[in-house]
Amino acid sequence: MTDYLLIIVGTVWVNNLVLSQFLGLCPFMGVSRKLETAIGMGLATTFVLTLSSVSSYLVDTWLLAPLDLQYLRTLSFILVIAAIVGFTEMVVRKTSPILHNVLGIYLPLITTNCAVLGVALLNIQQQHGFIESALYGMGGALGFTLVMVMFASLRERLVVADIPSVFKGNAIGLITAGLMALSFMGFSGLVKH
């Protein structure tokens, strides 16, 4: 039980996907202008990341490993991720058309979100079991959602802040992201690897 809790804490704070492993930076910068879109993107990514880390674990353990086809990992994981993202897009379009409109191009782009493939490959690299993979994926996605929400809230305030004109727009966004990454370094050492 403690192990599972440690995985969650470790992926959300200590080895945060965005701020300490620098994965998934494109949605982090791209969809964080408004809080609602950031939350929507976070939820969609959470769904996709959890499902894809579980199913890529299953594909690797039950299909690729017995047939000695580990060299097909990246290819088949991308296939798994693409299918799950396509599925998610259909579900979101049906259940929340506004979220679908707001997320726009970023929803299909979860396919190329490096965090999703990164987590699937890290699961294999760290020899996680089934539940560990699921928790690792979910924790990573929760961490992603957390920093998305924090960053979007900061950026909403930055819009009205009095910023020197050279720093306006994405420049101050990147500086803010760097400062957030610095502060997240404070969590390192919280969980021993």
Binding site: K34, E36, V59, L63, L64, L67, L69, L72, L75, S76, L79, V80, A82, A83, G86, F87, M90, V91, R93, K94, P97, I98, N101, V102
Partner: protein
């Protein structure tokens, strides 16, 4: 080598089936966003937005072909609601399409003057006027949206727009008004 082909091919076929099933199961009928916009519009069907009714205007907004500030009967409230739904900044009503009425209006036919020409019946977008040729017409108050489309065709100008009187079901307590006192 052959097993690799089978594995990748099999995975692709499996996911293809899954997505095909999902496409049928989660099919979206029509444009649900247009539905939501349509619900926010006042349904006067007055055509002041240059579209032939509220539904076509809603579809045009959903497609991004029309702006949100073209609905005078809805006024400020509708613009705010649309801006909230679509996540855009609210903007003032476009004066080209008319002005928002200060209060809800309803048509009233002066029955002494009405000659029973049926022209207003044809103009009414919500079928709120009843009557027959050469017989007096009258307005069903509950159906009338106050769109004023029946005013121009009337040859004897017997239709008046009057403010809706509050009924026991629509009456509300007035907002508390606290008089401001000047403190020296």
């Amino acid at each position: 080598m052959l097993s690799a082909l089978f594995v990748v091919g099999g995975l692709a076929a499996l996911f293809g089936l899954l997505l095909g099933f999902a496409a049928i199961r989660f099919r979206v009928e029509g444009d649900p966003l247009a539905d939501k916009i349509d619900k926010l519009l006042p349904q006067t069907q007055c055509g002041q937005c240059t579209f032939p009714g509220c539904r076509p205007y809603a579809e045009a907004i959903a497609k991004g072909e029309a702006d949100i500030n073209q609905c005078p009967p809805g006024g400020e409230v509708t613009i705010q609601a649309l801006a909230g739904l679509l996540g855009v900044e609210p903007k003032p009503l476009n004066a080209e399409h008319g002005e928002a009425p200060a209060q809800a209006l309803v048509a009233l036919i002066d029955e002494q003057t009405c000659i029973g020409c049926t022209l207003c019946i044809q103009a009414c977008p919500v079928d709120a006027i009843v009557g027959a040729a050469k017989h007096m017409h009258t307005v069903i108050e509950a159906e009338c949206t106050g769109c004023k489309l029946c005013l121009p065709p009337c040859p004897v100008d017997c239709i008046l727009m009057v403010a809706v009187q509050p009924s026991p079901t629509t009456w509300k307590w007035p907002y508390p008004i606290i008089p401001l006192k000047e403190v020296a």
